[in-house]
Structure formats: C-alpha cells, structure tokens
Symmetry: C2
Subunit: 256 residues, 2 copies
C-alpha cells in the first residue's frame, strides 16, 4: 500500500459460519469476504478488495477473523464510523467487532504470526437449541485425561500431513508448530484450544477427530505420535469433526 | 387422567423461540405445542393433546418449559425412548431435554408453583453473532447498583398491573409474588433473573424495560415502587424489552 495515497484499516470480524460458503470469495457471492467487500464498496466504491488472514471453511465460525482494506487517502471515516457503517449493511450473522487504522506495513495475512482455534463439543444425549450449529454433540463418555495426553502429543513442530485433508495437491511444506493445545471441561461442554503458527487444510478438525477417538479409547496417545513421526504409515481412516464446533478465536500479530 | 387406562409423561422442553409463533397452538400450526403434538401423534396417533405449564410469546426461548401428555396404557415406550423418538422428529431448535413418567396427579399447568425467567442483555457497541436472537443489545453504560435497587423493589407480593400489557381484558387477579429478582454481570453480559409464583402478560419484559431505564438514570427505584403502589398513577409510556433476550429457565413444582 502506498501510504501517501491510501489508508489501510484493520478489521476484527466475527461470524456465524452457517449459511455462508466460508470466508473466501466464491462465484456464488456467498463467501463472507464477498459480503464484506460489497458492504465496503457501498460505503466507498473506490475500495478494490478486502484481505483476510486466511480461509475458514463453510460452516466454520469466527470470533476474531482479521482483515484489512485500503481507502483512498482523504476519506473522512474513522475506525468507529467504519464499524458502524459496515454493521448497518451486514447481516446480524456477520459483525465487525473492531475497526481502526492499521499499523505501518500491516498485512492481515502476511503479518500474522499465529492463530488460535477452538473446537467446542457438547457431551450429552441432547444438544440444547442454543448450541445447535455451535457445538459437536457427542454421547459420552469421553475420558478427559486421555484427551489431554493426546493433545500434549500434538504440541511442537511436526510434519502434520497425517492431520491434513487432501486438497488435490501436496502442501509445499507440511511442517507447522503447535504452541499450545489444551482441553477444558465445564459441565457437558468440552473445549479444545489450538494455538499454532499455521494450520493445514482441515487440520484442526482432523486433530479433534483423533483426540475424540482417544477420549473414547479407540486410539492411544502414542498412535497419534506414530502418525506424526510417519505420516505415510498405515492407519484407520481418519475422523473429521464437523464444521459446526469450530471457530477461529483470534489471529496473532507481532505485539498483540 | 384415568391412571388405569392412561400413562402420563412429563417432558422438559427447550426451544429457540425464533421462527415459531410462541408456545401455544396456533391456527398457523407453528406454535411449539403444535410441533410437539404432531411429533407425539406420529409416534402414537392415540395421543389427543399435549399440555404446557403456560404460554411463552413468539420469539421467547425456553431452557425448561414443562409439558405433559397421556398415552394409552400398554404403550411400550419409556421416557428415554420418548425423548429419542421426539427429538428425531422435531427440528434442532426444539429439543426434549428430559422425559419420564409423571408423578401421580401431576399436571404441567395446575401443579406448577413457580417459574423462573431470565432476561439476557449484552452491553456493548456490537452484538456478537452467537448472541443474535438470544440477547438484547444495549449501548451502555448501565449502572448495575441502580438496577439492583430496582429489582429489589419488585420483590414481594404486589398488584403488578403497572407491569402488564393490555390483552384487551382485565386480569381477574393482578397480584403476583416475586420471590427473587437478581441482576448479575459477567463482562458485557448482564442477566436479570426473576423467580415468581406467576407472571402477567409481558410482565418480565416490562419489568426488564423499567429496570434498564433505572440503570440509565431515567427512572429512580422509588418510581417503580410508586407504580406498584398505585397502578393507575400517571407515568411515562413503558418500555417493553424485546422477546429475544427472554427465556423460561424452569418451572417449579412441589418437591422440585
């Protein structure tokens, strides 16, 4: 961005992923990025594009997706005015939580140094209506200590190919660092939180599937360790946790 | 109910009130009671009706609405089987949380000795997508101590006509007892909980409106006391809190 002629704004965006085709622009026009760009251009037709920190799949939610856009210098709207103007134009399922001028050199995707995802499970015979679409309902019992052991195995720098879905082309570099992986339980709600420098395609949902199976005694934590050590090893067909329970909690940047 | 020929079951029902015309059967067939009766009759066409503890308005949610229905004796389904059979037939927005044989003489409406309602407020500039339809978004500031004082004024046995909407006919007896009225705050979430022996039409939403105005300094707690003491007194036009934030938390019965 030419900072002489353009001002870059940074947005924190929350969304209910149901009913949208994921973050990324789609031919359908139903990506969350599409909705956001249309709202931006309604306010200022000179805005060419909006850049997110990365994709989220259809049905996946966000508490803190981050995006940036550039406005021709001289626009009089400040962050708060942008937030209000966008929220007036967006559906209630997509909200700009924060908006402000980005620090110099900021890029929503390339400046990101980490992401935090949370996977929410409701353990019980009936999913309450207010959790529909927001949690994966599992009939228990799930053994929390086994799940904790499985999560601990995943932490560190590994080739995570064993926990990636095939997108028809191999990843150039399937190594990622998981800084933190924690399980917490509060009543029937179990939360898995993953903080890493990046995630392969469907990696959080595949890790969650393996951790859940460990909680049910179908895998041992050392099985997960073996698949990390040798992604080509024979293994049972993996379980992908549904999109419903997943949300992008926050994107981390230097100094935040 | 003739206990020789019929078995009475008690249900605890949770629902997302959006998209339904309230609890009560409607000509539209879109009352939650209608959906439930259709599901019951799909399983057993001999079930004539389902009785709730009382109405909830369109858009109002429930965590613990209670209902009963009678099945011709000899039916082989137990509570758990009923719960499963009904949840398979109901939309995800309506869930049977519990089902079991009712104690002798039980009637969902006439055996009820109290109800607990909760009103949820989100204080902040932006309502997160997961709270849309479940909370009333208010830009603050709301003074919690003033709200607490207002809630305390409401507790006790009073003629609550000043906090009732006109349904075109006067209430036979507008006196009700509010056992407990509490405000709690957790971050941007403010919850008002009301436990009483019964509630007039829109009473919780009208009490909430008055308590919120007290939190904004527009009413004093003693104003609410004056309206309770003299329901006919002149007063500013009342504020009805929207249905979104309201849920029936539980119905209380003797021994529970």
């Amino acid at each position: 961005v030419d900072e002489e002629t353009m001002t870059r704004f940074r947005l924190t965006v929350a969304y209910d992923g149901r009913g949208f085709d994921g973050w990324q622009s789609q031919i359908s026009g139903n990506g969350i990025q599409d909705l956001l760009l249309r709202a931006l251009q309604e306010v200022n037709p000179g805005i060419p594009t909006v850049q997110g920190s990365g994709r989220t799949d259809a049905g996946v939610h966000a508490e803190g997706q981050v995006a940036h856009f550039d406005v021709p210098a001289g626009s009089r709207l400040d962050g708060r005015a942008w937030r209000e103007a966008l929220n007036r134009r967006l559906p209630a399922a997509v909200r700009v939580m924060e908006a402000g001028v980005a620090p110099p050199g900021f890029h929503a995707r390339f400046s990101a140094i980490g992401k935090v995802y949370r996977y929410e499970i409701h353990e019980g015979p009936v999913l309450p209506p207010w959790r529909a679409g927001w949690a994966w309902q599992l009939r228990g019992p799930l053994e929390l200590s086994a799940m904790e052991e499985a999560m601990a195995v995943l932490v560190g720098r590994h080739d995570f190919s064993a926990f990636a879905a095939n997108r028809g082309r191999p990843e150039r570099d399937p190594c990622r660092t998981l800084f933190r992986a924690e399980v917490t339980r509060e009543g029937p709600e179990i939360r898995l939180e993953f903080d890493g420098d990046g995630f392969l395609y469907k990696m959080v949902r595949l890790m969650t599937g393996a951790v859940v199976r460990t909680g049910r005694g179908k895998h041992r934590p050392q099985d997960l360790a073996a698949w990390l050590a040798d992604p080509g090893a024979e293994r049972p067909s993996p379980l992908t946790a549904p999109a419903d329970g997943l949300r992008l909690v926050r994107v981390r940047y230097e100094g935040a």
